[in-house]
Symmetry: D2
Subunit: 396 residues, 4 copies
């Protein structure tokens, strides 16, 4: 399986969602939980020390944990079993305080939020780089004349810079919206079996606040076991981003056809091949991500406490959306700075078209001078996009 995912994703993102990373994140949760509970007097300080001391991923046999999880239908159970055993070796009294008063979903959802924070940071870095590369191209080619095409047919003359600005703008907006969605959706999960943290001696709210702070996640004020909207809003943003990148990639692909030849991806270093790898990866992601988003949305009604399977489906789809998303943005972030732009070919394509048209039509509709108008728009766009997106401001 990973052979294909490897081609379509990135080593960094595969590592973020590796089995080991998930186990590590779950252990970070348990350690922080125990420490916070001790600070509030919910569990003994000595128990917390024993627990936190055992929460080290290198102490555990991740492969065995995976096998046991598969057999039992839960990734949390074997970890908790192993952690209790480890804690018991040194301090049997601490065993009952492992994962005290907390549900499995608290553990797994919070661990996923921790991993997703890293994942979003990876996406954001490449998104930023893509936008910068496009804005540089937009500036450099602000007035480079190029055929505007609609429905596969030339319709007018624009500039390549304006095309680049139109590629950059949705990605710049994705940065803003993704940051906003992450700010809201990366939340600690803490509710216990019934969602009321009833075993925390009335300090449930304080515990969640402390834990959120310790882990660097938001405190939602309640458990969001069945309230997936803010979490999935991050997924929707990724879906929109992958769609915008797909649009860009499709344009690259069409403009790079042998018969058009206006742009080309840089060749991979040390390879003479012609495969436009970045466009391929971005287009494959654009093919797959909508289905991941659909699966996530479809699982929402399954999230209610009386159902089963929906939460597990969400957990399995989530990393795959991020794998695709990062594959797409990383591939383009890598290709765009070295994009071959054949401005001469753009001009000659215009002239070849004009030479086949009746004189009047050519002069009017396909005048290379139209690139100047486009250039003004392109530069205005560059200026607007270079300033950091301010979401509370309505004027752009």
């Amino acid at each position: 399986m990973s052979l294909f995912e490897g081609v379509l994703s990135t080593p960094e993102m595969l590592s973020v969602f590796s089995e080991r990373s998930l186990v590590d994140a779950m252990l970070r949760f348990e350690a922080a939980l125990a420490r916070s509970q001790a600070r509030l007097g919910i569990i003994p300080e000595s128990a917390a020390q024993s627990i936190a001391g055992s929460c080290k991923v290198e102490l555990f046999d991740v492969a065995k944990m995976v096998r046991d999880g598969a057999r039992g239908g839960s990734v949390a159970a074997p970890l908790l079993h192993g952690l209790k055993e480890a804690v018991g070796l040194f301090n049997a009294d601490a065993m009952p305080f492992v994962h005290f008063g907390i549900g499995d979903q608290d553990l797994v959802d919070t661990a996923m939020a921790l991993l997703t924070r890293e994942a979003v940071a990876l996406v954001e870095a490449d998104l930023a780089q893509s936008v910068q590369a496009l804005l540089r191209l937009a500036q450099r080619h602000a007035e480079t004349p190029m055929l505007a095409r609609t429905s596969t047919q030339p319709t007018s003359v624009t500039s390549f810079g304006l095309v680049c600005a139109a590629w950059a703008a949705p990605l710049a907006r994705s940065r803003g919206r993704l940051a906003e969605a992450a700010r809201r959706g990366l939340q600690v999960q803490l509710g216990g079996a019934g969602g009321t943290l009833d075993r925390m001696q009335g300090q449930g709210a304080a515990l969640r606040r402390q834990l959120a702070e310790a882990l660097g996640l938001r405190d939602p004020g309640v458990a969001w076991h069945t309230q997936r909207d803010e979490w999935l809003a991050i997924g929707c943003e990724l879906g929109l981003m992958v769609g915008s990148l797909g649009m860009l990639a499709k344009d690259l692909l069409l403009l790079g056809q042998h018969e058009i030849g206006e742009v080309a991806e840089p060749a991979e270093s040390g390879r003479g091949e012609r495969l436009p790898r970045a466009s391929m990866v971005a287009l494959a992601a654009a093919q797959r991500a909508p289905q991941r988003v659909a699966a996530l949305l479809a699982a929402m009604p399954q999230a209610h406490p009386g159902a089963l399977g929906g939460w597990q489906a969400e957990l399995a789809e989530w990393p795959q959306l991020l794998l695709s998303a990062h594959g797409s943005v990383r591939a383009l972030a890598g290709a765009l700075p070295g994009l071959h732009v054949d401005a001469a070919r753009m001009r000659s394509n215009i002239h070849r078209l004009r030479s086949g048209l009746p004189r009047g039509a050519a002069a009017e509709g396909f005048d290379p001078a139209l690139a100047e108008t486009a250039g003004v728009l392109a530069l205005a766009q560059v200026l607007a996009l270079q300033s950091p997106p301010d979401l509370s401001d309505d004027t752009r």
Copy 2:
């Protein structure tokens, strides 16, 4: 087709996206365009008057327009043909100024934005009503004890009020996010064939600004022909909302099973039937909306100027997402205020469970007194949700 859509949507939303409404919206666009162009001196004032005077839906044979559109593959072409003819009857000189310098996508996208503004208002009204009904229930039943169930099995005791608060919270957030998405995404579309409005005598930007103001839409500063992200973000929000409503409906359905019997939808007036219609409609929507969102996202790369079919697919999927979304929220907005809540049955379900358990387990895990803890949380949630959502504020 509409037999089933009629059951699953609402007459109001069917009317918003009726053929007549779309034609009317397209005519409003053309009228406002002509007036704005005249004001800027782009077309003669007399032409604008003739054009605006003919932009009346009752002058057109909508059914014929639909037939012609089907034959030619475009909804814009027959409207423009008809409008030019109508204008020509009175003022032949004005004919060339109909739809002057503008593309078909400008017309259709802006018309869709106008209709969607109405559609979102319908959704918002019922969303507000649903939230209010749920907050009232949350308050009334803040301490009504009820079994908390996970994976179909009772796990603890909560209160029905807290359950209602957890139903209300994602809907309240949907209100905020949907309003925000609509504020950004309901934009005028204006670019002309090449996206540069090159035939507007350098006044393209001013024209778009004036037109946006006249139509009450946002001015995006550029054409968004291929930049669908802000538009589709509205669709994603609707998908999230339908998912949250589906979660609520699934809970209602499960709690309403004969053997559980804790809640029941109000019977339709004058009917003795038992069909829980609102849950059915909301669950059908939750089944369908994710696929609409996927179709919209999948069409994004098709939106590039060199492709074909993706824009048309988007146009056809869009109303259907709104039909489902409004069906869902309207059905629940109608049912929730009259929801039958059988608090006695909730209590007897707890007692029956306890009577089958060993004494200790019953006392600890399924103590009805746990409803008080839940009640405190429920009331805190109600308070937080009653204040209008402030998106710029991070503390809830």
Copy 3:
């Protein structure tokens, strides 16, 4: 809504799934049911005559039925209410025998099977015509040399005839598989509320057999209320067909680009426009149909007797899949016979490419003589595809 569906579907298919057609099909079911029940002595002959006599669509106010259905959440209830009223006017004794011992799903599913039989016949006719047109092109252009392109780059020389044969083959197979799926899946639905036809005096099996024969549907031997596999297999076949048509359309679109110019759709009669309407319709369908198939499959687990909403979602998605499917195949069936094939341009595109290559590479990889090899394959394919597909035979 229908404005866009009208563009992307056909008047014939819109008519098959119109409100009136569905009501008519439901009445045909009730009439045949009553007659079969009388023949088996389950209900009185006089009652059957009264019922069958009232089962005429022109006696009913379809619009009102739609409104009532929307209010109550069921399309069957208002029809049965109206039918009983109509029967009662002339023969009050017959009223209790309307829809005797039968469930609403029996009525609606069977009516949908009747409509789908017509729908599949429409699809099949245009599919046959598309295959014929492609085989003619394959024969005529068996040896017409053309660039083979992979990943947007020329890779070799093939013949246009072989390309046409590769377009035809999946469509020919779709004909065979669709016929097979329809033969299995177009079944009468009859089970009563509990699926056992327990009110039929032990003659349930005989009744279903008679009814199946009367309506020209298959007798499944049991009720298939929750067994949707054979029904949805028809939907999967339509999904595959739309995908194959989409592949064809995408090729047409790419080959028709101004810079390539090897094929072009015939212009709509009396129009000078360049919009490749057939490709657009087929590509929009290929964008939408996968999501319809997903929605149908996702509704399967909802079909169990304890759930709600899934069946209704299936009912609403089903016509939309057929609308898209017929739109696609009809559009291409219309365009393919008149396809403009520019064999000279195909040749000159090869020569222009060769002129830019080093001599050896050109001679070897892009030799127009390769079209002869392709021609042999093309003609062999034509021969194989012209013989009717025999599904039980493994050798082609």
Copy 4:
């Protein structure tokens, strides 16, 4: 990632689609290709021996191959690079004959067909076991009375045996249809870059025939690079199967609710837990598989030779569909033989319902004697399903 896939799939299927298995399958293809080419005199016998001798997975560094594949965007390129190197070590003359005249898609598609043959066999074995377990239950409980429920409400009395027969029937049909789809769709891919095998000295057809025989795959007679219908028909069948299994699982879940308690999954050996793991896995699969099918269908138009990304998306989605499908059927095949059926509870649920009804209603609609009628139907179904499905026969 595999942490969740591990829970939702099976070790066997993860192994079928492991990186090593794919590399091994690709090497089997190259070995068989070289041998067949030598037999037909297309390449020298000595070259074939060298090539076949190097086609051993243990000679290769799979992990490095994966990393290189990721960098270059292709899983075939590093394998071919490595194979040529390995061959060259012993017989430099054989190097040019590695992968002679063949395209990368030939290699990868055929390797996927080889793996899928194994995958389908795994699915089929568990499908057969599930059907057998259900038929045994249907027989044993042919007359065990049980409430029939519709839309969450009791509607009548049926027998548990009839319910089991209705679970078994779609699965039995899936066996037949899946076998048929696999027979057609598991085909060798061989066409070379342009699809014409033009470098095979006129022996392309013979080569494909020999290779098909050597690998135990079907000979399609032509390359199916862009004709994905028969391949994806296997995927559609899997989608239908997962849907039918999901229906079964949802029923199990609802019947297993604490308040209904009529069936329960066997506890995992050595665990006292209550989590109905099999239902969970099957429901998660039913949530995810429809989106995989949609992704596969959506990639069809991308399969045309001029596009990019669609094929790669298909390759990545394919194993994941099989992982879900096998997870689902294996989980239920494991749980069904040991299903706890509480016939006494089924009876007491009927009696409790009757005791709350007016005497007449109870006697008529909810008479436990109705289970006898259901029993007759159940046994007839068992008999029909025990005979092997004969697809050419229309009578069941």
